[in-house]
């Protein structure tokens, strides 16, 4: 597709041109970054590492109304978003865009999820390539890269004084046009490619995933998990902040007679997640829950969709208060099973 560029100080101008779009960009509350609707283009900065809360919330909000109704009545009013209301996410990191492509599998199979899909369709993803990967990034190990184009409509490179924009799809082209970007030349493309290569070399952590999906089920009953789960808090940080975690709860809520059925993020790390009404819980302790989280990402999901449900963004590692480090777990899992005695 096309090559574009714009001067760094023209970011606000470019964003202002996107009048047809609802534009999302990283915004800060204190030190915490999150994608928010851009109200003042001048306040947007793309000088950031990554958001604490992944942009999955743009397709799959933490709380989302499925439909509305009145108590005592049977008319149901679905609240599916409109696919024609264009949205642009500017500055999304390649890993988070890659995450969409993974989750697409699940939201697209058999019973496609209109809420997710409509938003996906409406959204143009304008990525921002990483020049300095964060300390715990390991995207190359799971099919990504600091300048990965997967899932993106356009990719921005920060070339110091200017941004180089490489459009990858028609949506990306449309975005570039709307933003009024000027054409870029070969030089920029080359610089960007070089930057991408260099960034790849700067990624500090890695895991060879070969054999892991097959091996993890063998550790089902293994004491292996306890060395991590014993210090797990059973909180929702790792899953809520994971760009590929997609589980949700559904609840009915009422304000007087006005009611809705809504879904909200849920996490397999909470005990009540799988607890039956009878009190029986198939995953009663942190061990089973830790096992499920890792196995789901690295074994169950690939078994179903042939892709690991992890993009190596490092959020779960960065934010875990007790240093449950997925790279460490996977690394150690390779040795586990063979030497350690199985417990009944």
């Amino acid at each position: 597709m096309g090559d574009y560029k714009f001067a760094k100080d023209k970011l606000a101008e470019a964003l202002s041109g996107l009048t047809d779009y609802e534009v999302f960009a990283p915004a800060a509350v204190g030190d915490v970054l999150r994608f928010k609707v851009v109200e003042d283009p001048a306040s947007v900065s793309l000088d950031y590492d990554n958001t604490t809360v992944p942009p999955k919330e743009l397709m799959f909000p933490q709380t989302e109304t499925l439909f509305k109704y009145r108590l005592g009545q049977t008319d149901i009013e679905p609240t599916v978003p409109d696919a024609s209301a264009k949205r642009a996410v500017v500055g999304i990191r390649p890993c988070d865009a890659l995450a969409y492509t993974i989750v697409d599998n699940l939201y697209g199979w058999d019973f496609p999820d209109p809420y997710y899909q409509q938003r996906r369709e409406a959204t143009t993803l304008v990525g921002l390539a990483c020049s300095d990967p964060c300390a715990n990034c390991f995207c190359p190990s799971v099919g990504g890269a600091p300048a990965s184009e997967k899932g993106l409509d356009a990719l921005i490179f920060d070339l110091g004084d200017a941004y180089y924009v490489k459009t990858l799809t028609d949506k990306g082209e449309e975005f570039a046009k709307a933003a009024g970007l000027e054409a870029a030349g070969d030089a920029e493309a080359k610089a960007a490619a070089k930057q991408g290569e260099e960034a790849l070399g700067k990624v500090q952590r890695s895991i060879d995933t070969a054999g892991i999906p097959e091996h993890l089920p063998e550790l089902y009953d293994d004491k292996f998990w306890e060395q991590f789960s014993d210090r797990c808090l059973s909180c929702g940080i790792c899953t809520f902040l994971c760009p590929t975690c997609h589980c949700f709860d559904i609840q009915d809520e009422s304000e007087g007679f006005d009611s809705r059925r809504a879904r909200m993020w849920d996490t397999c790390m909470f005990a009540e997640y799988t607890r039956h009404t009878s009190g029986h819980n198939p995953r009663p302790t942190r061990k089973e829950r830790t096992r499920n989280r890792i196995s789901h990402k690295y074994s169950y999901f690939p078994e179903k969709f042939d892709v690991i449900a992890c993009v190596g963004c490092g959020r779960c590692i960065n934010n875990c208060p007790v240093n449950i480090d997925i790279v460490d777990i996977l690394e150690k899992s390779k040795q586990a099973g063979a030497k350690e005695a199985k417990t009944a």
Partner: protein, 327 residues
Amino acid sequence: MVDEKKLQDKARETLSRDDVRRLIGWKRSTYGYEAAPAVLTDASEADQLIFDPTCVQNPASFISLEEKKPVPRGQEPDTRKIAVMVKGCDSRAIVQQLVEKAYNRDDVVVLGIPCIGVIDRRKAEKLFGETGKQVKAKVDKEKVAVDIGGDVKTVDRKDILMDKCLRCRYPNPLVSDFLLGDEVEKWADDDFADVDEFEKMTPEEKWKHWDEQLSKCIRCYSCKSVCPMCYCVECVVTQQKPQWTRRSTDISENAAYHLQRAWHLAGRCIECMECQRVCPVDIPIMELNRKMTREVKEMFDYEPGVDAEAEPLLASYNPQDPEDYIM
């Protein structure tokens, strides 16, 4: 400072005891400025244990986090003790857990560690940036030396320690069976200047602050999960019948959740600051707890977690309690 060799020896000895089931301490984390909690069951693992200013976690939290697994019919439950290493601040959690009958004093072996401060990850990241390397640290009366993968940086103690350390009144454990180091002198005090500062705000400013902060909450419940005092079988926050708080995330439910949490800790919070430390979206949760701590002290002359024989604050009263606003 604590001699790690001695600490490991004591841990090894403790784990070798027939009546000890597990030991909770700290070990070097895979990266970064915070150590990892270590939950050990075998004496051979004792050489993983460390203690230095990266050991910020409160190991007392992990006593109640351990699930009571169903005991197969015909077997006896494992009633062996849990050994736990605690700093001064952490030890208050043990005291308060004893007040609340979480277990008997005999059920724990407390290995106390006098401490002169632990590192605040957020402050460290501001000073030295995020790191994927392993970090060690040393602290003396003035400075903290932070060793980031071999690169040693020295910084003033007050610039890097946790806020709780800068107002630490209990550097020595209030309860312990063995002290793993010499007692240290108290070097700070708490005048609640932070609460005073906060209270200068008008009600509108206060709410603006909380509106912004609580809107960030993703309700991962890490704050309540990590809290050494939060170990109800099922927290009221997640109960369905009755449903106090809805699962949907908006400012109303988030505020209700945080008020419920703060309320339930009133007169119980031992100020280990774990809730604030673990928050992934940097909500200043301690501001609520601090206010409660101050009021509890001023109105009722009460301090939780210092006396295992004390009556729980809100399960007791004094006929002379203040009632200035009551009509």
